[in-house]
């Protein structure tokens, strides 16, 4: 499923709102989620999962081509942990051929 398919499904669920509102709503939700993570905030959606940041300390890496040592600075990476309901439903979908 892509973002546009998601918008189509939401439009079908709420025909009184129209495609424009569904489109805008999806944009607002995703932008806010990205903005929160960028500020270092966690996201917790009951039944779906949580997004948090994982810290990666600075390390000495290697340029795989030349073998030169390079300093890789510290960074944060987004991490998603599926919630109980999502985890169980997805696991059950693996039991029957998709």
């Amino acid at each position: 499923m892509t973002k546009s398919e998601l918008i189509e499904s939401l439009t079908a669920r709420y025909p009184q709102l129209g495609a424009r509102d569904a489109d805008f709503a999806v944009k607002v939700i995703l932008d806010e989620m990205a903005a929160c993570l960028s500020r270092g905030q966690r996201i917790e959606i009951r039944g779906f999962g949580s997004f948090a940041l994982n810290y990666r300390p600075p390390r000495v890496g290697r340029n795989p081509k030349s073998g030169d040592k390079v300093m890789v600075p510290e960074k944060y990476v987004p991490h998603f942990k599926a919630g109980k309901e999502l985890r169980e439903r997805v696991d059950q979908s693996g039991d029957v051929p998709a």
Partner: protein, 103 residues
């Protein structure tokens, strides 16, 4: 401060002009649609944000960390999230801003 469905529906009320009920339903449905697609065995790609992918894991040996007893970890299907390049670099800017993830 943690972002939850409540804050997201307030935002739909303020920015999109949905009424409180519609805003709450829309947020609920947004995650419901993604959950349904994943439960149907479909990957979900949200451009600019990231992809949710399904991975089938084979059975592997494990042990009970308390007792040390060996028990197999059964084969399962799991969801993994891969942030888009855009989200990754937005988040990475945090380390340069010298802030912490403490909230």
């Amino acid at each position: 401060m943690t972002l939850t469905k409540a804050e997201l529906s307030d935002l739909l009320f303020d920015k999109v002009g949905l009424n409180k009920r519609e805003a709450k339903d829309m947020v609920e449905s947004f995650f419901d649609e993604i959950r349904n697609a994943l439960s149907r065995g479909e990957d979900v790609k949200l451009s600019g944000f990231g992809n949710f992918q399904l991975r089938d894991k084979p059975q592997r040996p494990g042990r009970n960390p308390k007792t040390g007893e060996e028990i197999p970890i059964t084969a399962r299907r799991v969801v993994t999230f891969h942030a888009s390049q855009k989200l990754k670099s937005a988040v990475d800017d945090l380390s340069h801003a010298n802030t912490t993830t403490e909230s």
